[in-house]
């Protein structure tokens, strides 16, 4: 993974000291809250229901074991012993004191971590496929370009005060595990007719109040033009994005209002007018960054060694964990391990300091010291030898980190909701927990198969409910928590927005409603068909009929 040089380190150190001064100016009253708020947001500091919340960046979801250990330490010493992994591959701490945050950031800076631009109207954490570098069929490791974009976008003098937040995601494969179609800019690596790698550029995707699937504005962009083209997109947005209404200020609104073709033309015009090569990286810089993402020195190992196959035969629990949580690695003899942070009854995406340390230790022992954070709020160990999987599984199980539910109904994505968030209208975590409880039987979960449930506690959609196979949106109906259901959303390369099924359900009814949707699926599914495929084949009516049969 990327390692800071003296320049990267100096910038992060300087930003910590600049933020320390800003905090002091606020504490002394020199800055009003109105002045301080944009400044603290630019460094990831929110004020939530119970306390401040700090969102620490995990660039493109990649962490070293040492960084994860430091996050555990920070959780223990500055917070209440846990953190929350988010749908943008970052981590959130829910209880830091403002006056302590500069020191906290100083400690993070020592392990090359920061909270720069994790909030505010600027370019946010660039997210990427959590299987980057280890999945088959990748054009190139997208994290190389995520790192290039990260540097270019950090404290960018022209784009630090945009109309609204700006989110970029990159995928290196046709399989999209980075949800690029619901980002402000999505980049899909691809090849031109001559086989040269480059990017398909999508713009104007997003969720929130106005969910939109992004539009392709450029089928192929050569790699060397990546930054200049992004600069053109941002310049058009900075100048023309709406500033009169925060709910209409994202780039998706601009793209919709002028039309994708016209938007593409405006970007092209701006881009063509830019001085040639102004933003090309100097010779050697791309290679320097690529070197950090070169594949490790894999050993020459047989695929599916006999011992591994034998454990699967003899230990059905292990076999079930392999089936749900282990993915194919491009290197024979290796595997990708997903660590579920969705134990039944836990808060989705939360990890205690002890759990973080356990994962860090296991990453060092079994996974070449690297961990990934997924936008579905789980962790991934990207490079595990198949011959080590049994031992790793036992160790994970010992720490409660081996729930065999990745991609299944109890692998729920949920925002913090009304339990933590000042924007929320309803709780999301207890709804997730009660769904897990209803479907606690893992055999039943495996029989149901892949079913992505996503829960948001308000219309801002941080739980990504619009792209859930089943989406749940919490609303406030006359002071009571109420939930609207959608079905058929998807965040992958077949991206779609969920369809509202009908009238909503009270807190006491919503889990029954979800179970009814699952029953409807089981009744209609063709052999081997997942929930999403059944919906796409039969439509919403069979689900509605069953759900509202009593009405």
């Amino acid at each position: 993974m990327y390692r800071y040089d003296e320049f990267d380190q100096a910038l992060v150190n300087d930003r910590v000291e600049q933020f320390r001064e800003q905090v002091n100016r606020r504490l002394s009253g020199e800055l009003t809250e109105d002045q301080f708020k944009p400044l603290r947001l630019m460094n990831g500091v929110y004020l939530q229901l119970h306390a401040y919340m700090l969102r620490v960046a995990i660039p493109y979801g990649t962490l070293s074991a040492n960084q994860l250990r430091t996050l555990a330490d920070v959780a223990r010493r500055y917070d209440k012993g846990y953190g929350h992994f988010t749908t943008r591959q970052n981590i959130q701490f829910n209880w830091p004191a403002l006056k302590d945050i500069p020191d906290l950031l100083s400690e993070l800076a020592q392990v090359e971590m920061h909270a720069i631009q994790t909030s505010g109207n600027c370019i946010r954490n660039v997210t990427a496929d959590q299987y980057a570098g280890v999945a088959a069929g990748e054009v190139e490791d997208p994290r190389v370009y995520a790192e290039i974009i990260r540097q270019w976008s950090t404290l960018h003098p022209e784009f630090s005060f945009l109309p609204r937040k700006f989110k970029v995601a990159v995928t290196g494969c046709r399989e999209d595990r980075a949800a690029v179609a619901v980002h402000d800019v999505g980049l899909r690596m691809t090849r031109d007719d001559a086989g040269e790698p480059g990017f398909e550029v999508l713009v104007g995707g997003g969720q929130g109040r106005t969910p939109v699937i992004a539009k392709t504005i450029r089928n192929f962009l050569p790699k060397r033009h990546l930054l200049s083209y992004l600069e053109a997109v941002l310049r058009v947005y900075n100048q023309l994005g709406r500033r009169d209404n925060a709910f209409k200020a994202r780039i998706k609104i601009l793209v919709n209002s002028v039309g994708a073709d016209e938007f593409a033309r405006m970007v092209e015009e701006e881009w063509q007018a830019m001085p040639d090569q102004e933003l090309d990286l100097p010779d050697g810089e791309l290679e320097r960054i690529q070197a950090y993402f070169a594949p490790p020195a894999y050993h020459d190992l047989p695929d599916d060694p006999p011992a591994y196959a034998a454990w699967r035969r003899h230990d059905p629990e292990f076999a079930r964990w392999v089936q749900a949580n282990v993915a194919a690695h491009k290197q024979p003899g290796y595997a990708i391990v997903n660590v579920s942070l969705k134990p039944h009854g836990g808060a989705p995406g939360d990890a205690t300091a002890e759990e973080m340390e356990a994962v860090a230790e296991l990453a060092d022992r079994f996974a070449l010291g690297e961990i990934r954070v997924t936008h579905e709020q789980n962790l991934t160990l990207p490079d595990v030898r198949q011959e080590d999987l049994y031992e790793l599984w036992q160790a994970l199980a010992h720490h409660g980190l081996a729930t065999a539910n990745v991609g299944l109904i109890s692998d729920i994505i949920a925002c913090p909701g009304l339990d933590y968030c000042s924007l929320a209208n309803a709780r999301s975590i207890p709804v997730a927990q009660r769904i897990q409880e209803r479907f606690a039987d893992l055999d039943r979960q495996h029989d149901i198969g892949e079913l992505k449930v996503k829960i948001s506690g308000c219309i801002n959609a941080c739980g990504h409910h619009h792209v859930g196979h089943i989406g749940i949106l919490g609303v406030d109906k006359k002071g009571q928590e109420f939930y609207q259901l959608t079905i058929g959303g998807s965040a992958d390369e077949t991206a779609s927005l969920g369809e509202i099924v009908g009238k909503g359900f009270a807190y006491d009814e919503v889990v029954d409603a979800v179970e009814t949707l699952v029953d409807a699926y089981l009744e209609h599914r063709a052999r081997g068909e997942a929930f999403l495929d059944t919906y796409r084949r039969v439509g919403a009516e069979p689900f509605r009929e069953k759900l509202y049969a009593a009405d």
Partner: protein, 167 residues
């Protein structure tokens, strides 16, 4: 409000700002709203003193681009410091149109923006006394940049390769 230069030094302001053609003082450097300038550009030909315009932040700089050779100052606005449109305006004036006159920042301008403003090509700033005092220190706060700018800092990608070349 004090006027400072890029390094934070207070400078006297040679410009007077007026709203209409009628108010334009004879023989003195004056700034007009861009709209007024455009309406009367021919009447202003051969004016015996320097001329500048104030361009609202929702107007494209292209509108004054043909006349930049006659303008010695452009005043850009920050109605709220969160409103970052003027950064793009300044950058386009410098880079796209090669403008070498004064670009002034007015409105809600805090020390926290100093680095961004200077790097986008602003060279005069209307700020309160407190901000003026802190400007220089604010400029020195961040010692590394990743992007090219209109100040004299070399972006990190070039510094790292210059260092390697020297080794």
């Amino acid at each position: 409000m004090p006027l400072i230069d890029r390094t934070g030094w207070a400078v006297t302001d040679p410009w007077v700002e007026v709203e209409t053609l009628e108010e334009l003082p004879d023989g003195q450097a004056a700034i007009l709203p861009a709209e007024v300038f455009q309406e009367h550009r021919h009447a202003l030909d051969g004016r015996n003193a320097a001329l500048g315009v104030r361009l609202p932040n929702d107007q494209p700089v292209d509108e004054i681009a043909p006349d930049l050779h006659r303008l010695d100052a452009v005043v850009l606005e920050f109605p709220a410091f969160k409103d970052g449109r003027a950064y793009s305006q300044a950058r386009l004036l410098r880079q796209r149109h090669g403008y070498t006159g004064e670009i002034r920042a007015t409105g809600d301008v805090l020390q926290d923006q100093a680095i961004f403003l200077v790097r986008c090509g602003f060279d005069r700033f209307e700020v309160d006394a407190h901000t003026a005092e802190r400007w220089q220190a604010a400029l020195r706060r961040i010692s590394v940049v990743y992007q090219p700018g209109r100040d004299d800092s070399t972006p990190a990608p070039w510094r790292r390769h210059a260092r390697r070349a020297a080794e």
